[in-house]
């Protein structure tokens, strides 16, 4: 799933775009160093490991010798990435040398020899007994996340809107998933919003988190600190309580908002409160790495060749997502039966969802019983979906100029030939001496026609 990578890489690009001083501050903690290491492309990771115990600066040429000659482009990508993230620092003496960022080097060496240790102290004793079981925590995370997405969906279906969390609505608006309401229109879901619904959880999360971090600056939270915390969150152990009080006050507020997204669960005791990271938080950092998507979600959809879709779900969210592109026929306690009809798919296409997105959604969420089948989505269905999409693009509009009234056939033919050479000829009618040419070539055509007619005029004279 390339989209996950694009989105998560965007997040690391945001990290790379931090000013050098802030980035170095981030490398003061070895958790962020480890998270950054894991986010690197595979070759980059290897280079870090190789340079970890090298004290001197290494000339570019020696680094190049590590890679095979035909993999130099990959090598360069890795080196650039390392330099962007200030993992290696360039030194320009006689030739360019690279030295590893001493802070990063120190932290990683320590991590390597000790194996790390927990990022923050686990709240112990009486509280541990009150932490929820892993299963409860998963349910909590999923429920929380679904309610976030339902907010988006409820704007789409104009149905009864549930309790709106203004923070989440703001993030959605900021990401362009919800339109900003004005006098004429109320809050409504945008094209991007529809596409967003069909993405997988990790890319959805990353997109929201990214928007969230960009808004953080406006509200006075230090983005460096926030990014550091988000990267660190992945190393927390799922299902264990960590004390809130040890965090700086700015992050304490952040935690409440992360809890709204389902990344952590907050619990309050009498004197102190603590937070428990959920599976979503650990998945977040796992998907940070460049490797292909590494998540196994339980599928629930069976698509049949007769365009029927059986979805074994009782989740309101999944039903709403299905409703985006399929006509619901009936709903049983644990099963939704829907059909892909021309009308339903056309509505989806009209709201900006592409046929490919629908197919990939159906494929990704395929029920285990059919996920081994090749292809997962029957070809008749996927082909028909694509045909419906191309149906919409039958007529293509292109601005153009219409030329007629040519004095002689010779001039006309020369002009047609010229237009064809330029690749802009859209229509010609030799008997009536007319042609239509793309608008962007008009200046060129006019010059040519003028030259032609003056040339023939001179000849005639």
């Amino acid at each position: 799933m390339p989209r996950v990578r694009v989105v998560s890489r965007n997040f690391m690009e945001m990290v790379a775009a931090l000013p050098a001083a802030k980035l170095d501050l981030l490398y003061d903690r070895h958790w962020t160093c480890q998270a950054v290491l894991r986010s690197l492309p595979p070759l980059g990771k290897q280079y870090v490991m190789r340079l970890l115990y090298v004290e001197n600066a290494v000339p570019v040429k020696s680094l190049q010798e590590w890679a095979q000659p035909d993999a130099l482009s990959k090598h360069q990508v890795a080196i650039d990435r390392l330099e962007q993230l200030r993992v290696i620092l360039a030194e320009r003496k006689k030739e360019v040398c690279y030295r590893m960022n001493p802070k990063f080097q120190k932290q990683l060496r320590q991590a390597l020899s000790t194996g790390g240790g927990p990022p923050r102290d686990v709240v112990s004793g009486s509280i541990a007994a009150r932490t929820p079981s892993l299963e409860d925590l998963d349910n909590y995370a999923m429920k929380q996340w679904e309610s976030v997405l339902l907010q988006l969906v409820s704007c789409a279906s104009d149905g009864p809107t549930g309790p709106q969390n203004s923070f989440i609505t703001k993030v959605f608006q900021r990401a362009g998933l919800l339109s900003v309401p004005n006098e004429k229109e109320s809050l409504s879901i945008t094209d991007l919003g529809f596409q967003f619904l069909l993405m997988d959880t990790n890319s959805q999360l990353w997109q929201l988190v990214r928007e969230y971090v960009t808004t953080a600056e406006d509200r006075g939270t230090d983005s460096g600190e926030l990014i550091g915390f988000l990267l660190e969150l992945g190393f927390h152990h799922v299902g264990e309580a960590y004390g809130v009080n040890s965090l700086p006050p700015a992050l304490q507020k952040v935690l409440e908002e992360l809890a709204a997204l389902g990344l952590v669960q907050l619990q309050k005791g009498r004197s102190e409160s603590w937070y428990i990271p959920t599976k979503l938080a650990s998945n977040l950092s796992a998907s940070l790495s460049d490797s292909s998507d590494w998540q196994s979600s339980e599928g629930f959809v069976v698509v049949e060749t007769n365009f029927k879709v059986y979805a074994y779900t009782s989740s309101k969210l999944q039903t709403e997502i299905l409703r985006c592109f399929a006509r619901l026929e009936y709903q049983l306690p644990n099963l939704v039966v829907a059909a892909l009809t021309k009308e339903s798919v056309n509505t989806a296409l009209a709201s900006g969802i592409s046929a490919e997105q629908i197919i990939s959604f159906l494929r990704k969420h395929a029920h285990p019983h059919v996920s081994q089948r090749i292809p997962v989505v029957p070809e008749t269905v996927s082909d028909q979906l694509r045909l419906w999409e191309t149906d919409r693009n039958r007529v293509e509009l292109a601005p153009a100029y219409f030329y007629d009234d040519f004095p002689t056939m010779d001039i006309y033919e020369a002009v047609v030939a010229h237009a064809r050479d330029l690749g802009g000829l859209l229509y010609e009618d030799a008997s009536a001496r007319r042609l239509v040419v793309r608008a962007d070539l008009h200046e060129d055509m006019r010059m040519f026609i003028r030259k032609q007619s003056s040339g023939t005029a001179a000849q005639r004279r």
Binding site: R38, Q46, Q68, G115, H237, S289
Partner: protein
């Protein structure tokens, strides 16, 4: 190899040679100076394992100890996650800090068990060798189990840290393991610390497409491990790695388990013997003596230069 990995998620099975006859007090008398003490060797291996787990969120490691007569699992990163959870419920601290401790602890248990096993069965002819075939087979079984789990699974590879010399009597079982590793596309990497090259491991890495290396300076073991053996299968497509200089393809005979350059091969089942036999002990085919002398006579002639 059949599969081309698309990501760097790896499952590393480390075969750690802990043969007391190699590492022990009178090892120097037996094998000559190794250049690295067992303590260093063990520390380097632990740091290497930390490094592997550091590289990717989903990397998995398994450590198998190879003793002189036994072998056993020391550590499994997937299983210990559950163990550590039970530890924390008692309020103790846990996590990777305890990983090294866990491995050290199970190593001590293993060594004491090994000691008993050696005492119980003092067969001095075999003890100076490691039970390499046993641990290799264990590693393959483990990987087989991982591969049978539903997708996606990590890219498996085996790394042998070998010190003690090859045991000729294990030839057949080792070769069989190597071929099944080849069939499953599992590369076997080998890092040899002892004084002589290991023909088994040379063949293993040659056949399975792994890396064979005998570090010239064994006390810098960690650097070799990080530079070369930490490379995941995906990155290996793009990096320059040490190429084999030469492979010792010599076989051991089936009858006396001796390593031989030249011998007799059964024309039916390809079993190898160092002496002429009336019948093949593997498949039971009978050989006639008369043809043989003629052929061996021809073979002995010096090749025209």
């Amino acid at each position: 190899m059949a599969r081309n990995p698309t990501d760097d998620v790896s499952q590393v099975v480390l075969l750690l040679d802990v043969n007391p006859f190699f590492w022990g007090a009178d090892a120097e008398r037996l094998n000559g100076s190794v250049g690295i003490t067992f303590d260093q060797y063990f520390q380097h291996a632990l740091m290497f394992l930390n490094g592997i787990l550091l590289l990717n969120h989903t990397n998995k490691i398994v450590v198998i100890a190879t003793g002189s007569s036994t072998c056993g699992f020391l550590y499994d990163s997937t299983a210990t996650e559950n163990i550590s959870e039970s530890i924390t419920s008692k309020g103790k601290t846990k996590s990777q800090e305890s990983r090294s401790e866990l491995i050290t602890q199970s190593m001590q248990e293993f060594v004491s068990k090994e000691e008993e096993a050696v005492k119980a069965n003092p067969d001095s002819s075999k003890v100076q060798y490691s039970n390499f075939s046993g641990s290799l087979a264990m590693a393959l079984c483990y990987i087989q189990r991982v591969l049978r789990e539903p997708l996606p699974h990590p890219q498996p590879r085996i790394l042998c840290l070998q010190g003690s010399p090859d045991a000729p009597y294990q030839y057949i079982s080792v070769m069989n393991s190597i071929f099944s590793a080849q069939r499953n596309g599992i590369p076997i990497d080998a890092c040899v610390i002892g004084n002589q090259h290991s023909a088994f491991l040379q063949q293993a890495s040659h056949i399975t497409g792994g890396i064979y290396m005998k570090p010239p300076q064994p006390d810098g073991l960690f650097e070799y491990l990080m530079m070369i053996f930490a490379t995941d299968l995906f990155s290996r497509q793009f990096l320059q790695l040490p190429r084999p200089v030469g492979v010792d393809f010599r076989a051991s005979c089936f009858c006396h388990k001796k390593t031989i350059d030249m011998g007799y091969v059964c024309s039916v089942c390809l079993s190898i013997f160092c002496k002429h036999h009336q019948t093949c002990s593997t498949c039971g085919a009978t050989f006639s003596k008369s043809n043989l002398t003629a052929i061996t006579g021809m073979k002995r002639k010096a090749p025209p230069s």
